[in-house]
Symmetry: C2
Subunit: 202 residues, 2 copies
DNA sequence: GTCTATATTAAGATAGAC
DNA sequence: GTCTATCTTAATATAGAC
């Protein structure tokens, strides 16, 4: 339901989305089952389908709610700000998203891995346009000699790759670091700040 | 079958694994179906199960064949070589793996995303040990002042993240770059060489 | 070795009582 | 609004003919 009326509808809709996020982000769309989602949500399977007409509808509701949040940090990059600080702020916010919303990151990763069947239009439309717009800003900064010259779109790719890695490959990160370091994010933040400062220094 | 006897068994086993790679890498283990694999392989479903006893057996055969190949470039990093050139060679080989074996990369990504249920032991064992061994080499290079000091394990994570991104998020990379640039790898190679040269310069 | 036919289980979705 | 029971389809796997 996009417009829940009562308190209980509001609460159950959210409970279902949260449970669905848990399951879809781990198994992908086809690998997820309504039985699992129902169990995690603590509701019966028919009750899920009272709130959302189908499995696909739940998935769509999740993805469309997610995309704006996911692109906000990039939108927030200010063309009039200090170039290096704007980029580092973007890296920092993106890493915070990985830390605070790892399931959302994995849901997105699953969708892209599977060929983005449900969000291809948005990727080729809004996302493409936003990246090209910000790439133009980066290019201007490079022309003005305020950051080093690199390929602007690949620069953005590298920010995505480096920050999302900590959410999407969480299991591997923890296994490789070993049980000594339970929270990799503080060190990851320092590492990425160093990396981008050195890359962008003129 | 791990030990095919006849030519035809050899060929069919490989056809099945190739088809399974195609399907598993796109949909994950649970999202993949034997029907799809059979169709891609051009064989009947029961014929698949003549060669492999179960869906799980096919998946295991794929993963165990993959892991060695995947870690070879890291193993090849020579402690006695020139530090920057050894690291750049590793980045280059890893990027070539993404370019030449994107399905393998996505199969691995799917498995990790899903919590690595089938290869957790290898991740925590062999992979952990190999990374710690190579991290020690990197630390020595830093102590000797031959590369800049950064967290060695996060350095390795960043190589993985940046190179695998081009295989795993292929759809997004192409959509964002637009139809003008069909092959992102040459530019990606230049970008990553610049990035790691600047990061590691003393 | 390969296929058709089928057993068996699980999954998405619906009916209808409460 | 929520549940039990159930329909229907699709999926893994097996039997058995050829």
């Amino acid at each position: 339901m996009s417009k829940p009326r009562t308190k209980i509808q509001q609460r159950n809709s959210e409970t279902i989305l949260d449970a669905a996020l848990e399951v879809f982000s781990q198994h992908g769309f086809r690998g997820a089952t309504l039985d699992q989602i129902a169990e995690v949500a603590g509701l019966s399977k028919p009750n899920l389908l009272y709130y959302y007409p189908s499995k696909e509808a739940i998935h769509v509701a999740l993805l469309s709610g997610l995309l704006d949040t996911w692109l906000d940090p990039l939108r927030a990059m200010d063309p009039e700000g200090d170039p290096v600080e704007e980029l580092l702020a973007y890296v920092r916010r993106k890493l915070e998203l990985s830390r605070d919303f790892p399931r959302e990151s994995r849901l997105f990763a699953n969708e892209i891995l599977q060929g983005a069947p449900r969000i291809r239009a948005v990727i080729e439309g809004d996302l493409h346009a936003l990246v090209q717009e910000k790439a133009a800003v980066l290019t201007r900064w490079m022309d003005e000699g305020r950051i080093a010259r690199v390929h602007p779109v690949h620069l953005i790719f590298s920010i995505w790759a480096l920050t999302q890695h900590y959410a999407d490959f969480d299991v591997q990160v923890h296994a490789v670091l070993g049980p000594g370091e339970p929270d990799p994010y503080p060190e990851a933040g320092r590492y990425l700040e160093t990396l981008f400062r050195r890359l962008l220094a003129v």
